[in-house]
Symmetry: C2
């Protein structure tokens, strides 16, 4: 059996803590969680569901900031260690391709992904209904919005970090106009980020109870020797509301509309106070990872209770082995997903 490895660059300053002794699961929390507490900025009550990337030897991030009006916008943040962050006080200013102001009416749950030499932000925006917004930047100073890739209603847009067959690849969850008590992950392609198609069904909500209501893409998939490692969120419904856990699956390297392995167990579920309590209690919502190709270390950033940001760790060997050991395909996930 070949060794399980990350197929990504080195990142020797990745935030890291070793696995605590006696912890038997493949993912463990940072002991100083939450890394982002309430009221992090003058006009922002809560930061959560946010995304980070390595940038010029340090780290940069796009953060969901809930303003005091209750309306969320995106904020830029900087960090030397990936743990302690400071932020621009003004929300990110977007322009259209002619350079004119083009601000979203609201913006939440950003993902930030580098593809080739460009950084892309994809978030949930108002397009006469909740839909995916898309912007690009090279310098984190000018943010140019592109056309919204899809019609409403859609949430949880996640880019792949590289093109496959010269196409951009985008995960999303078609939704409804409310809190969407259903939902599967779909995968789409674009040659140019202007036009999208080749839509395929990727994964159905689970038969396992922790993800029985809906699922949605989380962090950008990570390339490994076993396939694309996807951390996603799975939701169950209870008499007192939704509970969001983190799940994991591995997609085919060449044709990621095919699920190779899917973990029947959640890999992280709300247990700590900052996950159970908050504006929306019982939410773990992964939006980004950092990974080090040299050591196989993975750091997972997740929104907690719509109020905080938490950090968790695993290694490619631990998580991939665990997914394979607890593999259980649901529905026709192994198919290409065309009807």
């Amino acid at each position: 059996m070949t060794e399980i490895k990350l197929l990504v660059e080195e990142l020797n300053n990745i935030p890291w803590q070793d696995k605590p002794e006696g912890w038997e699961r493949p993912v463990w929390r940072y002991t100083q969680n939450p890394i982002i507490d309430r009221n992090p900025l003058k006009n922002v009550a809560r930061i959560f569901n946010s995304a980070v990337v390595p940038y010029q030897g340090e780290f940069i991030g796009v953060f969901r900031g809930e303003t005091l009006t209750g309306i969320p916008y995106l904020y830029l943040g900087y960090s030397k260690d990936g743990i302690n962050w400071h932020y621009e006080e003004e929300k990110i200013h977007f322009v259209d391709q002619e350079g004119n102001d083009f601000m979203p009416k609201y913006a939440y749950d950003p993902r930030l992904i580098k593809v080739e030499d460009m950084y892309y932000i994809i978030w949930c925006t108002d397009f006469y209904g909740a839909a995916l917004g898309l912007a690009k930047t090279t310098d984190f100073k000018t943010f140019v919005r592109l056309d919204n890739p899809f019609l409403p209603f859609n949430r949880n847009g996640v880019f792949f970090p590289k093109k496959i067959n010269n196409r951009f690849i985008l995960l999303s969850r078609p939704s409804d106009s409310g809190h969407t008590p259903f939902g599967d992950i779909f995968i789409s392609e674009s040659p140019d980020l202007e036009f999208w198609g080749k839509h395929r069904h990727l994964m159905t909500k689970g038969t396992n109870w922790w993800e029985s209501l809906k699922i949605g893409g989380g962090a950008a998939p990570i390339e490994t020797t076993e396939g694309w490692l996807l951390f996603y969120h799975g939701v169950t419904g209870t008499c007192n509301g939704y509970v969001y856990s983190m799940g994991a699956a591995i997609l085919d390297n060449e044709n990621p509309s095919i699920v190779k392995y899917r973990c029947q167990n959640f890999i992280l579920t709300p247990e700590e106070w900052y996950e159970e309590r908050g504006f929306v209690g019982n939410v773990i919502f992964p939006c980004a990872t950092l990974q080090d190709g040299a050591t196989g270390r993975i750091a997972i950033y997740y929104g907690a209770a719509d109020s905080y940001v938490g950090l968790a760790f695993t290694t490619v060997k631990e998580i991939v082995s665990y997914i394979k050991a607890n593999h259980s395909i649901v529905g026709d996930d192994e198919e290409i997903g065309i009807r």
Copy 2:
């Protein structure tokens, strides 16, 4: 003032009846309605919400046939006069682009539209949720399905009958997974029918009560000297269910994401027994028109009460004058519809 004219080909065998004396509205019903009654085929209980085109000097149509299982499929029909129809007994057989069987799990509310030398069928299909299906044919013998243009959930797909700026143009209504108690019309473009984008919001549900719940594209827009004439459906909610009426608007010739005129009045609403009574009472649902460039005559085919097909008539002068005389723009319909 220039004369209001259709910018379409002659169709001298268009079905036609003159306007009845004393009828003051711009659209009038065929006196022998419904033109398609219940149980039109051995295994089909009801035909409704269907589309027709001129073909080889006669007429051909794609019909929504509700089978005895209750599941709808598409059926091919032929007519010499556009009024009396006979049908293939077997449902339309679709293949993929390699010629392999590619049948939809269900198929309803087809539109049939000729663009350049190709006939396109667009319908509501199961794509792990209700979405738009798309197929093409030149001979009405081989029907090749293309990729589904959009992610779920979407209904009421309507092609424009010609390309604009070398792009195919498609109207649709983003929906939810149920009976969708909301909905606006959006407009999208494609260079190749493979990838879609440039999504814009076209028209919002109305402030007028007859269309206060949702709207959706109806027949393919008709090119006129005043703009693209669009017959659509508007829905209101009552304590005893939805009521579907027919509305009309005129879109800008060059940039059809801009509404030039919108008629504040419905132009046809359920009144006759075949519109009020049926599987779903109180439904008028236009899906197709025929038009004669020589005389300005327009024949409108509409589904009635999810049980019958009705025919109605107008002329380009009557309907365009009426829309302009009763013009009332809603929301930001006059804008391009980008956010």
